[in-house]
Amino acid sequence: MADALAAHAPQFDDAEQQRTASNLGIWIFLATEILFFGVLFAAYAITRVRFPDAFAAASRLTNLPLAGTNTAVLLTSSLTMALGVHAAQHGARRAVVGWLSLTVALGCAFLAIKAVEYRLDYLEHLVPTLDFRYAGPQADQVELFFYMYFFITAVHGLHVLIGIGCIATIAVMAARNAFSPDYFTPIDVTGLYWHLVDVIWLFVFPILYLISRS
C-alpha cells in the first residue's frame, strides 16, 4: 500500500510536483489562519489600548499556573510532532505512530487543562453572561476583557481540537502502513498546521496572561 501511495495523485505529473503543491498549499492555508487570528488580536489590542487599567486588572485574574502548564504541554507536543515527522522521513513506522499518538495525548491534555481552567473561571464568576460578577471599578471593561479572553481561547481551542482529529487520523493511517520515506506528505502538512497552532498560542498566552503581571 505504501508503494501505491508513493505514486502521485492523477492531476500531478510526478511525486515531486505533488510535494511542491502540497507544501505551497499548506503554507497558504497557514497564511489565512494568521489573518484570521490577526483580526482577533487587532480587536483585542485596540480595546486594550482604550482601557489599559481595566484590562490589566482583568488580566491579573486569569489563571497563570494552568495556562503556563498548557504552554509547556503545547510546546512539548510540537516537539513530539516534529519527531514524528522526522521518524516518517526515515520510514520508522512504529516511531511515527508513537510520536503522533503522544502528540494526540498532549493535545488532549491541553484541552483538558483548558476545560479545568474554564470551570474555575466559571466558579469565580468570570464568565460573561453566566453570572459574571466583578466588584472593582470599570466592571464593564473587565467583562469585555473576559469576553475577548474566552472568544480567543475558544477559537484557538477549536483549532487544537481539529488538529487532534487530523493527527489521530494520520496516526491510524501510519499504523496501517500508508506512508513511506517517499510519501509522507499528510504528516508533513499536519505537522505544519500543528506548529502554527502552537505559534498562535505563543501569542495568545502573553497578550492575555502575561502583560501587566510584573
Binding site: 482604550r50 482601557f51 487599567d53 471599578p137 470599570q138
Partner: protein, 320 residues
C-alpha cells in the same frame, strides 16, 4: 425646471468650492472618457477586418521603444494629474472640517428616527433647523442609538452622527431659504423618514424666530439645574469635602492627566468624564468619580456641557 432638476441649489460659502471640484472632475473625466471612446471607435472602424488600413509594423524595435515611451507617458500623466486633484480636494476638505472661531453652536441629538436640535438660547426643534444667514454655525452632534448621518445637500456637507461620541459639522449659509436635511446612514425601518429642513433666515428674522420660540430657559440654565440635581456640586462645588477638580474655567483648557498625557477639556472630555470617569483621571486626583451612565440622557449631558462652557472661557474648537 423643478420637475427635472440637474443641479442642487448652492447655499453655503463652501458649496462653491465643492462644486468647482465637481466641475473640474466632470471636465477631466469627460475628456478622458471621450478620448477613450473615440479612440476605441476610430480604431475599431479603421482596423476592422478587411479594411485597407496599413497594418505593417515597419521597424519592430523602434515600435517597441515607442510603445514603451507611450506607456510611461500615460502612466506618469495620470499620476501627476491625480496628485494635483488630491491636493486640491484635500484643501477643500480641510476648510470643511476646520470650524471657524465664533461659530454659533447648535446641538443635535439624533435618534431613531428624528433629529433633535437644541439652541443654546433654549429653543428646541425636531426635524428642523433654523439658522441665521451669513453667520458660521457649528453643529455638535451625537446619537442616542445607532449611527446616523446628517446631510444638507444644499450646503454640500455631511457627517456621520455616532452613539457614544460627538462629531461636528459647520457651515455658513449664504442664501436664505429652505433646504433638505437627510439622514444618510442607514439606521433602521424609518431611515428614509428621518428627513427635515434647514431654514436659513436673515439676521433680523432669525432673532425674531428665536424670541418667539424662547419658552424654555437657556441650555446653560437647564444644565446648571441638572448639575445640582445630579449632585455634581457635592464633590465639585466650593463647599465640597471631597478632593475633586474645580470646574470653573475648565472648558477649553488643556488638562494634564495622571498618566502624563495632556488632553483638551472639550465636549468629548466632559462626556467621557461623566460616563467613563476613570479613563482620564487628572493629575493629582484619584479614580473615585462614579459613573453617571444610565442616569443622564444625551440632551441633558449637552446641557451640562453648555453650563460648564458658561463657567469659564469657552474657547472655540478647532476640529482635528
Amino acid at each position: 425646471m423643478d420637475s427635472l432638476p440637474f443641479f442642487p441649489v448652492s447655499a453655503s460659502t463652501t458649496a462653491g468650492q465643492v462644486d468647482n471640484l465637481y466641475f473640474a472632475w466632470l471636465a477631466l473625466s469627460g475628456v478622458v472618457a471621450l478620448a477613450v471612446a473615440l479612440l476605441l471607435i476610430w480604431f475599431a472602424v479603421r482596423y476592422r477586418r478587411g479594411s485597407a488600413a496599413n497594418r505593417i509594423v515597419a521597424d519592430a524595435a523602434k515600435s517597441e521603444k515607442r510603445m514603451r515611451r507611450i506607456e510611461i507617458v500615460w502612466t506618469v500623466v495620470p499620476v501627476v494629474l491625480f496628485l494635483a486633484m488630491f491636493v486640491w480636494s484635500a484643501r477643500v476638505y480641510y476648510v470643511n472640517v476646520t470650524v471657524p472661531r465664533g461659530a454659533l453652536p447648535i446641538y443635535i441629538v439624533a435618534k431613531q428616527w428624528m433629529w433633535h436640535a437644541e439652541h443654546p438660547a433654549g429653543e428646541r426643534e425636531i426635524n428642523e433647523l433654523h439658522v441665521p444667514l451669513g453667520r458660521p454655525v457649528e453643529l455638535l452632534m451625537t446619537s442616542q442609538d445607532v449611527i446616523h448621518s446628517l446631510s444638507i445637500p444644499g450646503f454640500r456637507i455631511k457627517q456621520d452622527v455616532l452613539p457614544g461620541r460627538y462629531t461636528t459639522l459647520w457651515f455658513t449659509a449664504n442664501r436664505a431659504g429652505e433646504y433638505h436635511l437627510f439622514c444618510t446612514q442607514f439606521c433602521g425601518a424609518s431611515h428614509s423618514h428621518m428627513v427635515g429642513r434647514v431654514v436659513v433666515m436673515e439676521a433680523a428674522a432669525f432673532e425674531g424666530w428665536l424670541s418667539a420660540h424662547a419658552n424654555l430657559p437657556t441650555m446653560a440654565a437647564r444644565g446648571a439645574q441638572r448639575y445640582r440635581q445630579l449632585g455634581c456640586d457635592g464633590c465639585h462645588g466650593a463647599q465640597a469635602s471631597v478632593h475633586a477638580p474645580k470646574l470653573e474655567g475648565l472648558f477649553g483648557r488643556s488638562v494634564e492627566l495622571r498618566d502624563g498625557r495632556s488632553v483638551l477639556a472639550d465636549e468629548r472630555f466632559i462626556r467621557d468624564a461623566v460616563l467613563l470617569p476613570n479613563r482620564e483621571v487628572p493629575a493629582g486626583y484619584d479614580a473615585s468619580m462614579p459613573s453617571f451612565r444610565g442616569q443622564i440622557g444625551e440632551e441633558e449631558l449637552l446641557e451640562i456641557i453648555e453650563y460648564l462652557k458658561s463657567l469659564g472661557n469657552a474657547t472655540q474648537q478647532v476640529m482635528p
